[in-house]
Structures are given as C-alpha cells and as structure tokens.
C-alpha cells in the first residue's frame, strides 16, 4: 500500500517538475537547461511571499507570473537569436541558468531559506499514515495535467502549438505566427516551472542550487515523452515506479540514477520513446 502511494506521488511530483520543460521541448525542440534555475526562482517566490506575510498559496500565481515574465525575456533575447543553432541555444540556456543562480545567490545569499509549509500533517489512508502534502501534490499534478490538456486540445494557442510540433514549416505556411507561438509557449513552460518550484518547497530545501538535482531526471523523462503530455504522464509513472522499486528493494543510490540510466536505454532501443503509443 505504502509502495503504491509512494509510486503514485513520486510520479506526480516528477510530472509537476517536468511539464514546463516538456512544453518548451515540444515546440522549440530544445532542452531548456535553465529549467533548474526556473524551479529555483519559483521557490524563492514562496520565500518572498512568506516574507511579505501573505498566504503561502499566493506564491503560486506569483511564481507563474515571474517565471513567465523571465521566460519571455529569455526567449526574446537568448533563444530567438539562436533559432537556427539549437545546440547553441541549449548551451545558452545553461549559461542563463548559471547567471540566474548567481543572481539569486547575490540577492538572497547562499543560505537555506525558511518557507512555510503549504499543507502540513498526515492523513490516514487505507490503513497507513501518509504525508498529506504528497497526496495534495498528486491532486495538483492531475489538475495541472488537465489544465495542460485543455490548453493543448481546446484553445487556439494549443492548436497552433500542435501544428508547430508536427511541422513548423507547414504551420508557418498556413499563416501561423510561429515566432509568437514559440514565445508564448516558452513563457508558459517557464511559468509552469516556476509553479513547480513553489510546489517543491514543502519537500526540499530552498537554496540557490535546489533546481539542479531535479534537472537530469526531468530531461530524460521529457526526451522519452517526446512532446506528448500523455506520454510524459506514462513515463513519470513507469520511471517513477522504477525509481521507488529500485530504491526500496535494491538501493536508494541505484534508485537515484535509475531514471537517467533506464531512460537512456529505452531511447537507445526505441528512439521515439513512449510517444509512439
């Protein structure tokens, strides 16, 4: 029972962390190495919210807004000039991550920051005491997934984004302003990453490097998912389960590299990853 809950909530957290990255990867075809910095910025929004004495949940909209705004700037000044050099764009986002991390350090110091708990306590569910927040996080992951699905399936932006994902040249020839789609998607992706940063605060320390430890797992999940949010959900479940099972029955150390190694092998054997289904 505990195992099932662990798997489901781990998958949910992985999904929350990687959904913003997926949006950007799908449309812009680049892995955003600054993703970790975006998570960090989001978490520091929670710190600021706490310092202002606001309700901790108010950090969510703030983090989304800050993430989106910074994402917009980054897309315009860094990603756009490198449109034709995707590997360079990746490198530039890595550099951006360093810069953002150092700016956060200069502004807040390197110390671990105190953040209020979003939802404390435990809940008894099917005979086990379980962390209430992890269950809340599972619900939030479902909500984010649904919201994402609605944007993709039901809005004009979603339609344009899908067109760009499938065939950018064709989309442009159909009169879609692909530049604008890229900008808006990057902003949304960065916004979601900021959101994820806030949602991580009850689980992890808030410090300038907090994002880095989530990066590689998120990269691999997104590459396996290949621009499909349903495939991402599946990948989070499968690899999250692998991580929990290996950690529980073999060794947490192997468990912590399970996602990266297994995803690499999956991609080697089936280059389209989980998106084929």
């Amino acid at each position: 029972m505990l195992l099932t809950l662990d798997i489901l909530t781990t998958a949910a957290i992985l999904f929350i962390v990687s959904i913003g990255l997926l949006a950007i990867f799908g449309v812009l075809k680049i892995i955003n190495f600054a993703h970790g910095a975006w998570l960090t910025v989001g978490a520091y929004c929670a710190v600021v919210t706490a310092k202002l004495g606001l309700n901790p949940w108010a950090a969510l909209p703030l983090a989304f807004a800050v993430g989106a705004a910074l994402g917009g700037l980054a897309e315009h000044f860094i990603i756009r000039p490198l449109y034709r050099r995707p590997l360079d764009a990746i490198l530039a986002t890595w550099g951006l991550g360093i810069v953002v991390g150092q700016l956060v350090t200069l502004a807040f110091g390197r110390d671990v920051q105190l953040t209020p708990n979003l939802y404390a306590g435990t809940v008894e569910i099917l005979g086990v005491d379980y962390s209430a927040y992890r269950l809340v996080a599972f619900g939030i992951a479902l909500a984010i997934g649904t919201l994402f699905a609605l944007i993709i399936e039901r809005t004009r932006l979603g339609l344009s984004a899908r067109a760009v994902i499938m065939n950018e040249t064709l989309a442009r020839s159909l009169g879609i302003d692909t530049g604008r789609v890229r900008l808006v998607v990057f902003m949304i992706g960065a916004g979601f990453a900021g959101l994820a940063g806030v949602l991580l605060t009850p689980l992890t320390s808030v410090d300038p490097n907090m994002g880095v430890s989530w990066l590689i797992g998120a990269f691999m999940l997104v590459m396996v998912a290949d621009a499909s949010y349903l495939a991402l959900a599946a990948a989070c479940l499968v690899f999250g389960a692998a991580q929990v099972l290996i950690s529980t029955f073999v060794s947490p150390i192997l468990g912590s590299i399970a996602i990266a190694v297994l995803a690499a092998l999956v991609l080697r054997i089936s280059p389209k990853g989980f998106s084929r289904a």
């Binding site: 390197r110 708990n117 962390s131 927040y133 689980l203 950690s247 529980t248």
Partner: protein
C-alpha cells in the same frame, strides 16, 4: 634565480612585505575556505571568528612582537578549488600557517601542497576521522566523540532499535558506520542503514522503509545544508515523530528549518548556550565587532577562533614560526576558549567536551547533557 610573479598585485605585496625588518614581519595565517559552493553558508562565520581572534591578539601586541595577518582564499568547497587555494596561499602569499575548516575533499586535495610546502595546518572542522598528516592537527570532533552522547542518551530513554539515514559521502558513511558499531557494542540493534546520493532530493523510499521498520530511534547524518533540510522536511511530512538525532545539524540550519526541527537532538562541542565566562566574553566581543553583520557563532567557527590562539601559544613556545619547531610545540600547548580547555595531544587530535542539545520551538538549542573531555580514540596510531 629570479622568479617572476605573473600577477602584479602579488608582486607589489611581496615587495611591500620584503621591505620590513625580518623580526617585525607579520605572521601570515592562511584560511583556505569554501566562500562559494557547499560551505559558503558557514564560511563567513568562520572568517569572522578568525578576524576577531587576530584583532584581539594584535591589540595585545601580537605574537612575539609580530602582528598577525589573515589571507583568505576561496576553495569553492571542493578539490579543484582547494588545490588552487592552497597553492595560492602557500606559494604566492607565503603564509606561515594554515588554519581552516573545509570539506574532506578540499582538505585531502590540499594535503599534498601542505606537505610539499612544509607549513603547519590546523584543521578546525569536525569530520569523519582518520585523516593523518605530520603537518596537520585537528581541534574539532570525530565520530568517536560525537556519537556516544547521542546513543547513550537514547539508550537511557529505553531505545533498543535504531534506524540510520545518511548522505552517501565520506562524512555520512563515516559517522553512521561508527554509530552502527557503537550501537551494537552497547547492546542495541540497527534495523536499517540507508544512504541517498548527496544531491538526491527524494527520500520517499527510505522514509517508507523507516516507517515499516518501526525503530525506537532515528539517527541521521546527511551532507550539511540542503540535504539535511530536505530530509527533515520529508520526515516531518511523512509524520515521523521518533526520537531523532541529527549528527549534521547546527544551530543555524535548525533555525532555517523552523517548526520542522523542533525536538531534534544534536551533539556538538559548541552551542551558543554554553554557560562559561569565556563563551560569554567571546559572544559579547563578536557582537560588538560585527553588530548587525554578525553570523551566529557555531561548532565550525569557534574552533577556528581557538585554533588561532593555539597557534599563538605554539609559536610563543617554539620561539618563532619555524615549521618543525611549531609542529613540535602544537600538541603540548593548551588554550581555554569558549569550548573549554583544548589540547591537541591525542595523535594530532583533541579531547573535547561534548554537549547534547535539543532544538526548541523557537529554534534555540537547550543543553540536555554535558560530557567532559571525550577522547577522540586512536585516530592516527602512526603519529605521536
């Protein structure tokens, strides 16, 4: 042979020092420390206490009539940075001694330079033990000193079974390895010993194992800062309310954890609440010197302060800064500081008074037990 220095500023500095009379030449203390990287949270407090010690000593006429000067270099909390920092201090700044706390990786990376450069080195950080070098002395605790107070206290409360959780690195494994042997030696039982990589942030599976094992007490030893906070948050989130000792916890980190840290035990050779005239005078002097800029003194910064006094005593006994003589004098001198009277007499390590503390609701530490002059055990059997 003429040696050029590639850096103009350093050349100027050398020229300036060379201009002074040999006997009036200041004694240079090198502090290689993690101004950036993992140790950057604690580093400022260490530098502050060094500054206070130097100021106090200089105000009273220095050491053998010579002033003390500090040279701080960033080791980026790692091996590569430490190599640069040690090289810079030893060969460029020509320091007379190195006194500092560092990560184990940085300390090890610096040791070859210490040996080649023939300078004394006082290591002021608690660590996993058994690091031995002729030129190095340690005035902070090792597992043999820190773990027994915790286990003894839990045993007194009736704990028989333990669960151990740590970060996968030398300190984490060293501390818990010793804890395990000590628990077993004193008749207890370890139900599980689990590690997560240092940068790991998901303790879920380990916490579930802990809950299923149902031990009487929990002992953790993670990397400082982030992993410590992450583990504690997730333990509290999962509703773990066992007697819980955190071997890597300091007062400052406890504060940043807020309510999550309440009730946690820690074991240290220094807590701010030590009730001695030396400690009160030290705290007052720190407050006066740094005011609002003050970083709370802690178990890593106070040994730095005391180590400078130990070095002063050794130089005075040796009659100069010559390395061989200072190394000979170092294990014989004693200094009474905020942590009590310290002598690095046991195989380059020091017997220390240890304090068992418990974190209160407001983040302060209440002393729950005092253990006088705990012996470091056989750390370096090959050294005197």
């Amino acid at each position: 042979m003429v040696k050029w220095s590639l850096v103009g500023a350093a050349a100027l500095a050398l020229a300036a020092t060379a201009g002074q009379a040999a006997d009036g030449k200041p004694i240079v203390i090198g502090i290689p420390i993690g101004l950036s990287g993992a140790n950057s949270v604690v580093a400022p407090s260490v530098v502050q206490s060094a500054e206070l010690a130097v100021e106090e000593i200089n105000a009273k006429g220095g050491v053998l009539g010579r002033k003390l000067v500090l040279e701080v270099a960033d080791d980026a909390s790692g091996a590569a940075g430490a190599q640069k920092a040690f090289d810079s201090l030893i060969y460029q700044k020509k320091v007379d001694v190195l006194i500092s706390m560092e990560t184990s990786a940085a300390r090890n990376a610096g040791l070859p330079a210490v040996t080649k450069g023939k300078v004394p080195y006082i290591y002021t950080s608690f660590y996993e033990g058994h690091s031995c070098n002729r030129n190095m002395f340690v005035n902070a605790w090792v597992p043999e000193q820190q773990v027994p107070p915790v286990v003894d206290a839990f045993k007194a409360k009736g704990a028989k079974t333990y669960f151990l959780i740590g970060s996968d690195y030398a300190f984490g494994r060293g501390m818990l390895g010793f804890a395990k042997s000590y628990v077993e030696k004193t008749g207890g039982k370890v139900l599980g010993e689990e590690y997560l990589p240092m940068d790991g942030s998901d303790w879920t599976a380990i916490i579930s194992k802990l809950k299923e094992a149902k031990p009487d007490a929990l002992i953790t030893s993670t990397a400082g800062g982030a992993p410590n906070v992450t583990l504690t948050k997730q333990l509290r989130g999962a509703g773990v309310t066992l007697p819980f000792a955190n071997l890597a916890l300091d007062e400052g980190t406890a504060k940043s954890m807020g309510a999550d840290a309440e009730g946690v035990y820690l074991s240290a050779s220094y807590v701010t609440g030590i009730d001695s005239p030396e400690n009160k005078a030290f705290l007052a002097a720190m407050q006066k010197k740094f005011g609002a800029e003050l970083r709370t003194p802690n178990d890593l910064s106070v040994p730095e302060y005391e180590a400078i006094y130990l070095y002063k005593a050794a130089v005075e006994k040796a009659g100069g800064t010559e390395t061989a003589k200072v190394l000979e004098a170092l294990p014989t001198v004693s200094v009474t500081g905020p942590r009590g009277t310290i002598t690095m007499s046991k195989q380059h390590h020091a017997p220390l008074t240890m304090y068992l503390g418990q974190i209160q609701k407001d983040g302060t530490v209440k002393v729950a037990g005092t253990f006088t002059d705990v012996d470091p055990g056989a750390q370096c059997p090959k050294l005197p």
